[in-house]
Symmetry: C3
Subunit: 444 residues, 3 copies
């Protein structure tokens, strides 16, 4: 339970808010690369952290993310011309490049020097791992890109897309790092094996070789034993559940600063999944969803499955809005709810979205009642709010500058009941916090 | 004319407002019984007095009206499962019964006792007279259900439905107790007998055996002589109009605390009509509309007529929104206005809705100019505002606890011109305030 | 660049604002005459300067513009009956004439005198130049109608219509008096003669006999030499551009208080164009667009061309909303932008609307950077803000009372490079400020 003030502190990301300033110290995805395919193509309106911006790819291929209004008379450069390495305003022809320099100002005499005093606000960008990343913080503290594993593997080994969500980013991320809800929200009701398998497939719940045991263990133990471990760039959040024997079945998620989370299911050799939240404003967010296979390229049929909505991937339209969404009540089907799954909603991603949106545009955390399965959420809040508080007091977030320490994995494991989480991590990943950067030459 | 402050006082019904607290001391219709037909059926989102709520009918048939957000993490129980005498949250399986008790809390150990400390806000409900009633006030002051006559007659003798309205409830109710507007708003223009009868029938204006005289008297006298009498549970509001002889034609309405009104037309042996206003919020309301025949069951053709929109009944869609409404300008037809009726709008209920909505979302009473035909409205305001003021000062509304004194009738009568209203009432109803509870064994 | 306070001062036109009070001292178009064709026809809802009003044409042909709510109980007279020289409320029959007099009050005794104490707010109206004009200021300072030339020529010599715009009126008018943007916003890209001519025709850019030179001169000189001259009722705003020889090509616009602007292109014998802005509220406006030919009637094919969207005229729907508008992104076509014109938007009026709307609902002038081509805008702001400030200090606007001095013209001319603007004006118009009222017997 948070005070009203703390809930505001946690969830508001506009310019000048403590959490908004903290987020602005990190690189964030602004677009998929595929959204700006064309050099000199039309500029695209985007909205990030409550700021309206324009993105465009100029003649030399570089991407600009800039304020939309021309400094001359405030006309929107969206109606401008993207040509010859710059965006030219349609009103009076003032022209700017991706760095915000005014490169032509035809309404004043060339020798007046006026052009050199005019600037357009522009944020640095990078293209990496099929996404266009933006840094919206102070230039002098700009860090390296975080070395998430999906960007370290060959391009053919990963799949990246995104999905819109109709609520504040924090409650959506909190849903992702709370892995206890798998025992309910994503439950399959069918009892005979064949029907259950069909339902799980339709529910986009499992692509594992032998899912039945693990799914059954998850569904049968609603009170996993939770452990949390901190590290340079985030938190390991793990829940251990009863198996058929004395061992514990561990599901180990990663939270990475400031808004990335990896799912807890992958066993060695399986596909890894992760998500990155980017606030559009305080009541909407983009979720970049991705998966990768370190050992081999993803097949075309796997890509088709992801595009159709599997695991954290949602089935989206051309604007990346999920087909099953708040406006159509997620196509909830009462007969499906009675016989097949817990909610009547098809798709793990859509079940998550429905329940997270239902918490309200911004969840009122003054009325919540957290319990033992919510300690991951508690530790997440401590970390991000503490980091934001320290930044407001003058101490920049250290994680932003530990780019290589983002090379971690999450996943599942079965271990003897007396082992602590660090030991289980070392068994599963070869490192007590899941660091695998050494496999990519990023140091130990 | 009210001050800005008094207008706010009169019209605001949110939690904590004086008028809202006053309303919350009375039972109010929350739904028609037919809206929750199924045990373990899907929960229904409703909004009452500005509060978002969920209604559901649990396995044993009892109806719950509860706050929508689960106390655990704020997920909306609308996405929950209504099963085995309770509503279970889809997020982590917490479960609540119609009384708000937490009956299962699977994420905490059963022996922790945590479940017993968790409650969901739940309001008491009753099913009566084809409606689900709710009491949203303090438990210790919960009264008996008001003994409106439609609930005392056999079920076959009554017809109950509801209609949506796009304005504040007070101005709509004020339109109902101001019976002088019948001389204008509901006027029929046709002059020859046959055309007038057709127009009246289309206008849903009269089902009386010999309507012509009464309708003519109403249309010809725009300044009825008004009298108002108070009683235990409300006001008798009567207007006397000239007839063809020396007698007065009395039309006698009832206002019953806090938001019921009966129409003034019924002669002995005719059908009685009434309405109950329930604020959705401050700019929308539900109007429960009903009629009853004490002496005989209503016929199927009468029920069909009511469903088609007759008298206070409106022709509504599956969501109880009138087919002729603000969004389609009430299907006002200019040629009808020129030749047939005063407004060009078909239906008494729709004519009322049009003119009441047109006063604005909340009528600005600082600019009104009341006259002698508005004394019913003045007395209504004195009564409800006085009751709300006294409640704010610690004195609960007495009417709420006089359940049996709600058994009253309204109606029409023709009387000698020198008789005062109490005498006319006694002639018409056998009681000077219209009380008929003794006919149902409720005492004298 | 304006301060936040000055930007508010300049753009807010509600009742009681300094600029709103200034505007209310002038006659403004409220409707086209064709919008109220019928005596005793249905009243029409309009909105002017943030005030909701009703317009109706009563039995004797006079037009009323009145507040919409009946003083009795606040019902909207829109649902009333327009009959026998007055508008009668449908609720209780109170009736008002175009001057706001209560001419019938049937709910009070005729001898009570109550009727004479009741008034409906009514604004004076005039029909002139195919428009219904309204005066919303104090009665005692009501001026004559401004003698714009389009009202002085025979009806067959003019064409008048209107168009909706989705932004504050000031930035739209500033776009019109800034004639330097023609070098960009309306630029035609096609290079061969035939293609350019086709593009210009599609762009609705020129109906002049020999447009090519002038269009070329405009497109080739993005830095016209600007001069501004004040006069009794407004400003002459002129830009001189290089021609093929030593002469300057002058384009001379007129701004007339408080919100009229004439385009700068017409040579003697050509058609004159003008526009009048009327705020609907602070973020929407009507633009009355008109043209006239002093020397001859306009032909049917010319009228068809204007109706199809030519020059300042836009192609509008039955509600006078442009077919190419903000909601459909002005049907901007990327391939047209690459090969044919600067914006990809068809139509001069639509190009203006797109860029003006894009400045925001109200342009943020605290971030603008004005230059030498913006001096017309600077002088316009000085004039209207100064007039509003003086009015607030008790000095009424003098221009309002110089009705005959509105008889001026704007237009183009080619002149020797050493001539000042007053000399050029005299050459072109026979008067150094463009006054032509003497041709209509309005004095010298």
């Amino acid at each position: 339970m948070l005070s009203k003030e703390d809930n505001e502190f946690l969830t508001r990301a506009g310019k000048g808010t403590p959490m908004g300033e903290m987020l602005r110290r990190f690189w964030m995805p602004a677009l998929l690369c595929e959204e700006l395919p064309e050099r000199d193509g039309p500029p695209k309106k985007i909205r990030l952290l409550g700021e309206d911006l324009l993105a465009f790819r100029q003649t030399d291929g570089r991407v600009g993310i800039v304020e939309p209004h021309c400094p001359h008379r405030g006309a929107n450069l969206y109606y401008g011309r993207n040509e010859q390495c710059g965006l030219r305003c349609s009103f009076h022809g003032w022209k700017f490049d991706v760095d915000g320099n005014c490169v032509d100002l035809p309404t004043s005499p060339p020798d007046s020097g006026y052009k050199d005093r005019i600037r357009l606000q522009a944020y640095p960008t990078r293209e990496w791992a099929d996404m266009i990343w933006v840094y919206m913080g102070p230039r002098e503290t700009m860090p390296e890109l975080p070395q998430l594993e999906l960007g370290l593997v060959p391009a053919g080994h990963r799949f990246v897309t995104k999905k819109w969500q109709d609520c504040n980013w924090v409650q959506s991320l909190e849903g992702a790092i709370d892995t206890s809800h798998f025992s309910f929200l994503h439950k399959v009701l069918a009892t005979d094996d064949e029907a259950a398998r069909r339902a799980m497939s339709r529910a986009a719940l499992s692509d594992q070789a032998k899912p039945d045991d693990r799914v059954r263990w998850v569904q049968n133990d609603p009170r996993p034993r939770f452990s949390v471990l901190g590290h340079d760039t985030g938190l390991v959040i793990a829940g251990g559940r009863k198996t058929d024997g004395p061992e514990l079945y561990w599901r180990i998620a990663q939270f990475l600063m400031p808004s990335h989370a990896y799912t807890p299911a992958a066993f060695p050799g399986e596909i890894y999944y992760g998500q990155t939240w980017v606030p559009v404003d305080d009541v909407n967010c983009w979720i970049y969803t991705y998966c990768w296979q370190p050992d081999r390229p993803l097949s075309n049929s796997e890509r088709a499955k992801f595009r159709g909505g599997f695991n954290v991937h949602s089935e989206v339209d051309a604007d990346y809005k999920p087909l099953r969404n708040k406006d159509n009540d997620y196509l909830r089907d009462r007969s499906v709810q009675l016989t097949e799954n817990f909610t009547g909603i098809t798709g793990v991603s859509e079940q998550d979205a429905a329940i997270q949106d239902s918490q309200g545009p911004i969840q009122d955390r003054t009325r919540e009642h957290l319990g033992p399965t919510d300690i991951g959420i508690v530790e997440f809040r401590k970390l991000v709010m503490g980091t934001a508080r320290r930044l407001a007091a003058g101490e920049p977030p250290a994680a932003a500058h530990k780019a290589s320490r983002y090379a971690v994995r999450s996943g599942g494991w079965i271990a003897a009941p007396d082992k602590d989480l660090a030991t289980v991590m070392t068994e599963r990943f070869g490192h007590d916090r899941g660091y695998i950067g050494n496999q990519y030459g990023l140091g130990d």
